[in-house]
């Protein structure tokens, strides 16, 4: 009855929690929100990326085929209310309608220092306009840049060219839409899917990708899909499949191990069902506590299965010859498992202090999971194991004999010694694993959206890493002042070679006083449009070449009559400004920019530019910050846990000698693991450090179990092996299977954690099974007496 009530309560937790649980594809859920770089990156993306915008990339070796493919995709998606309700853009808005540029050109030409603008107005005065035009012709003669030539050709009075040297680059050619050769193009699709769940996002992304693929059939081009909807859908799907695949593989492997050992179907089915139940309870707790599962948290399934099954093995193994009631069996198992579950859960709970939310969630889930697993196995599996126990099969007996045989253990000791020595030699020769705190391991897997984004960055802006400038403030003037300071700092960094190039929102940011003052100066010149056009014609320009300047003069005249707009708002203006200027709903003003630092100078440039409300953000800077903050924290935790484990074990063993043997075994297997990591080219990062922490909690269990058995058996190695060798082997195999399954995760960091932990567990188990008994024997022998003459 009481068992039934407990089961019902646990089912209720699982059902309620699971109904609340969803996958979280937001990368920032994995990162510590209190780090300045994380906040900066988040604020930058929230304000300057378009959440509902999907980017389709088209590439090929033939520019005509790429162009044709682009036109076909536009034709297919334009007007599709389901996939592209907000429209499709395959070229700058002003390419089809150049007059759209007039509005922002007129606004930005006014947005200059009044003394500069006065100079421009004087240059258009009757007395000076001929000389102004002559200078434009000279500039055309001397220009070495076809793009600059094209711009001056259409701006004879240089209202745009002189007024906006950096901003002018924005509307040069197909910036953001195509590479110069035309062999790579980007289409921007407004899906209107900013706030949808990942399944709906996935449907839209698939729909767009499918429609685009069908539209370009027969053309030799490659397509890619990226943008926030593609990331969220891709990451969430990868998490889902990671969880199902790694969990499924771990379940099959632990089931296989049980079958190989015991050849009993009913206990196996019961064990699998209870493992799934444990998993459901754990996810239920996650659902109740946080409601969302991150990409790293999704790795809990396989680890949890690999660890929880240990308690099932232990209970089943103990039940085989247990003389007593089920309640007594539970107490007996609890006595031994309390310590191992305690250290394992403690190690995982300690991940909460890692400062990395993804790892914290993984730690919480597995910590809760192993405690639930112990409870479930003791409550529900113990009675089943007692009820279904039968005489050992011939296979099981053979396995037990093998594990206890001298040749097996001698060979095992030699093999372990050779492997450990090999790893130690590698450690000495190759040195310890290299440090790599680049942020790559924090990014959720290599989804197609990432590949498409990388290609896009390479094609449109070159190979170099770009940092984002983020400037924020409470007022227009405050942001302008900060932008000015950032501009000066960046110009100085460029002079000294730390910065290769940069662009900020400075030219785009409104100078409120100057705009009004400058507009007042345009009244007279706007009335002289006809004479200005004739002068340009007389100087050698065509009538068409004056069109942009004429449009600007018309716009100034209109604004003189109706007043200035707060911000230019036509499609071309919006397209240009949304990359640089933003007012958040709470009234905070944000301005942006980009900086191309000299290789290796990212941190120096960031430090040089940083001031109140001004920062540079980017993945290289995030990696640097994480290395400084998180790695130190994890190392402290690891040492703390090591001391705690030794202390607890000291109390349990009540023997300094055995604690020394235990410490020796852990140091040896950890050193061997470092050698193996060095050999395999695995570097130190947050996840490999976390794996070491977890090994202290889980891998140490094997030596602990062996030493406790040796203590119980009065130091008799054969008896101790008879008692725990099989269970250690089973536990190690299942844990390696669990962590090893995670090693194939699409999340690079999680995969590394899985691999390092799997290698470490195998080394820990081999040392515990084959070397710890030898160390204990050697340590317990009395020291030889010196012979007296």
């Amino acid at each position: 009855m009481r068992l039934g009530l407990a089961a019902a309560a646990l089912v209720a937790v699982a059902v309620v929690g699971l109904s609340r649980l969803s996958f979280e594809g937001d990368l920032f859920q994995l990162l510590p929100g209190d780090l300045p770089q994380v906040r900066g990156l988040r604020v930058f993306l929230e304000n300057f990326s378009q959440p509902g915008r999907l980017l389709v990339t088209v590439s090929g070796s033939d520019a005509e085929a790429v162009d044709d493919a682009t036109r076909r995709i536009v034709a297919r998606l334009e007007g599709d209310e389901d996939l592209a309700p907000g429209g499709v853009l395959a070229a700058p808005p002003w390419e089809a309608q150049p007059t759209l540029l007039v509005e922002i050109a007129a606004f930005l030409a006014l947005n200059r220092a009044p003394e500069d603008f006065r100079g421009t107005m004087e240059g258009m005065s009757p007395g000076q306009r001929k000389e102004t035009l002559r200078e434009s012709i000279r500039r055309l003669t001397e220009s070495v840049s076809p793009a600059e030539s094209a711009l001056i050709s259409n701006d004879p009075y240089r209202l745009v060219v002189d007024g906006l040297p950096s901003g002018a680059q924005v509307w040069r050619g197909g910036d953001g839409f195509a590479n110069a050769a035309g062999t790579f193009r980007v289409l921007y699709i407004e899906t209107g899917a900013a706030w949808l769940g990942y399944r709906d996002l996935g449907r839209i992304v698939d729909g767009v990708a499918g429609a685009a693929t069908k539209a370009v059939e027969g053309l030799d081009v490659r397509l890619g899909v990226t943008g926030e909807p593609a990331f969220v859908a891709g990451i969430s799907r990868a998490m889902e499949s990671d969880m199902v695949l790694s969990g499924g593989v771990a379940l099959v492997l632990v089931g296989f191990v049980f079958w190989v050992c015991y050849r009993r179907l009913r206990p196996l089915a019961g064990l699998i069902a209870l493992l799934l139940f444990t998993f459901a309870i754990t996810l239920g707790v996650a659902g109740v506590v946080s409601g969302t599962l991150t990409a790293i948290g999704a790795g809990c399934a396989a680890i949890l299965i690999g660890l929880s099954v240990d308690y099932g093995y232990f209970v089943f193994e103990r039940s085989r010859w247990f003389q007593g009631t089920v309640a007594q069996l539970r107490v007996d198992c609890l006595k031994t498992l309390t310590l191992t579950v305690g250290t394992t859960a403690a190690a995982f709970f300690m991940l909460d202090a890692s400062g990395l939310p993804g790892l914290s969630q993984l730690g919480l889930l597995v910590g809760v999971g192993v405690i639930s697993g112990l409870g479930v196995m003791l409550l529900f599996f113990a009675p089943l194991a007692m009820r279904w126990r039968v005489e050992p099969s011939a296979g099981e007996l053979a396995m037990r004999r093998l594990l206890q045989s001298t040749p097996w253990n001698r060979s095992g000791a030699v093999a372990t010694g050779v492997v450990v020595c090999g790893c130690l030699v590698a450690l000495v020769v190759k040195g310890p694993p290299a440090f790599d705190f680049s942020p790559d391991s924090l990014r959720p897997g290599n989804t197609p959206a990432y590949e498409a984004l990388e290609t896009l960055t390479r094609e449109l802006s070159g190979e170099r890493e770009v940092l984002n400038l983020l400037v924020e403030g409470d007022s227009v003037d405050q942001v302008r002042g900060r932008l000015d300071a950032a501009n000066r700092a960046l110009a100085s960094a460029q002079q000294s070679g730390d910065v290769l190039r940069f662009q900020t929102a400075f030219d785009f940011w409104p100078r409120e006083g100057a705009l009004r003052e400058n507009l007042a100066l345009t009244r007279e010149v706007s009335l002289e449009k006809g004479k200005l056009e004739q002068a340009a014609y007389d100087a050698g320009f065509t009538r068409e070449a004056f069109a942009l300047n004429a449009g600007i003069l018309d716009r100034w005249m209109a604004w003189n009559a109706s007043g200035l707009p707060d911000v230019p708002g036509n499609p071309a203006s919006r397209w240009i400004l949304e990359r640089f200027v933003r007012v958040a709903p709470d009234g905070t003003f944000f301005a942006s920019g980009y900086v191309v630092p000299a290789p290796g100078r990212e941190v120096a440039v960031a430090e040089r530019v940083a001031s109140e409300g001004v920062m540079l953000t980017g993945w290289p800077l995030l990696g640097h910050e994480i290395a400084g903050v998180l790695a130190g924290g994890l190392l402290n935790l690891t040492f703390g846990l090591a001391v705690a484990v030794l202390g607890v074990l000291g109390i349990a063993l009540r023997s300094v000698r055995r604690v020394v043997v235990f410490a020796g075994a852990i140091v040896l297997s950890t050193a061997a693991l470092l050698g193996a990591m060095s050999l395999a080219g695995i570097s130190w990062n947050i996840f490999s450090l976390a794996a070491i922490l977890l090994l202290l909690g889980t891998g140490t269990d094997y030596s602990m179990l062996m030493l406790l058995a040796l203590k119980r058996q009065g130091g008799d190695v054969a008896k101790a092996r008879r008692e725990v060798a099989l269970v250690i082997a089973l536990c190690a195999l299942s844990a390696v299977a669990g962590f090893g399954s995670v090693g194939f995760s699409t999340h690079a960091g999680l995969a590394m954690l899985g691999k390092v932990a799997a290698i470490g567990l195998a080394l820990n188990a081999a040392v515990a099974l084959f070397l710890v008994p030898l160390f204990e024997q050697r340590a317990s022998q009395p020291a030889p007496r010196t012979k007296r003459m």
């Binding site: 520019a63 012709i137 000279r138 055309l140 003669t141 001397e142 220009s143 070495v144 840049s145 076809p146 793009a147 600059e148 030539s149 094209a150 050709s153 259409n154 040297p165 950096s166 050619g173 590479n179 110069a180 050769a181 035309g182 062999t183 002079q495 290769l500 190039r501 014609y537 050698g540 320009f541 065509t542 068409e544 070449a545």
Partner: protein, 206 residues
């Protein structure tokens, strides 16, 4: 009785290869040129005189005007663009100079070995005309340059290899034509032309 002399057909591919090889052997070149720019936005072409110097070992100077209005200078130490009249200059990152947009306006296929020539240019056609001039139509291979250059046309005298004309046809419909004259081949060149004093000038971006 009249005699008809039938000229042996000229192997135009060989003519180009021979010219490239002869150019690669040059120690130095100094030549004047007249540049004519025809731009869609201008009713009249822009003419200006210029001069170029090349010395084996990576030295190149190209300038328009005398005194120079614009100078492009390349030495083993780097690449500079300068506008002496405006007292402005730009030092170009060598990695970025390769294939940079402005290179299209200056890309001159002289002084390169056969392999380097074909690495940088895709030859579209070679024809030897009746007046003994070889006309080569080509495209830069570099992707960025192809974005704004529609074609490059080089004309040289088959006999002797002297370059007559080099024309850049731009994607926007404009052309930049350089007609060469007074070329001095393998003469002595004052290496001072490959230095430029930019102290006190303003450094600008393109």
């Amino acid at each position: 009785m009249s005699a008809v002399v039938v000229a042996a057909p000229v192997d135009s591919g060989n003519v180009l290869e021979r010219w490239i090889e002869s150019q690669a052997r040059l120690e130095s070149v100094e030549a004047g040129f007249v540049q004519t720019r025809e731009l869609p936005a201008l009713r009249v072409p822009l003419r200006s005189e210029g001069r170029l110097w090349m010395v084996r070992g990576g030295y190149f100077r190209w300038q328009i005007g005398d005194p120079a209005g614009v100078v492009v200078l390349q030495t083993p130490e780097g690449v500079w663009l300068a506008w002496p009249r405006r007292r402005e200059f730009q030092k170009v990152d060598p990695a970025e100079a390769e294939g940079a947009e402005w290179r299209g306006a200056l890309e001159f296929p002289g002084g390169l070995g056969v392999e380097e020539f074909h690495r940088r240019f895709d030859v579209l056609g070679v024809a030897v005309e009746d007046d003994g001039i070889c006309r080569v139509e080509m495209l830069p291979r570099e992707a960025r340059a192809r974005g704004f250059v529609k074609a490059l046309v080089l004309k040289f005298v088959v006999e002797g290899g002297a370059v007559v004309e080099f024309e850049i046809r731009l994607s926007n419909g404009g052309t930049i034509r350089n007609e060469f004259r007074q070329a001095i081949v393998n003469g002595s060149v004052d290496m001072g032309v490959f230095r430029i004093e930019t102290a006190g000038w303003r450094e600008v971006g393109l």
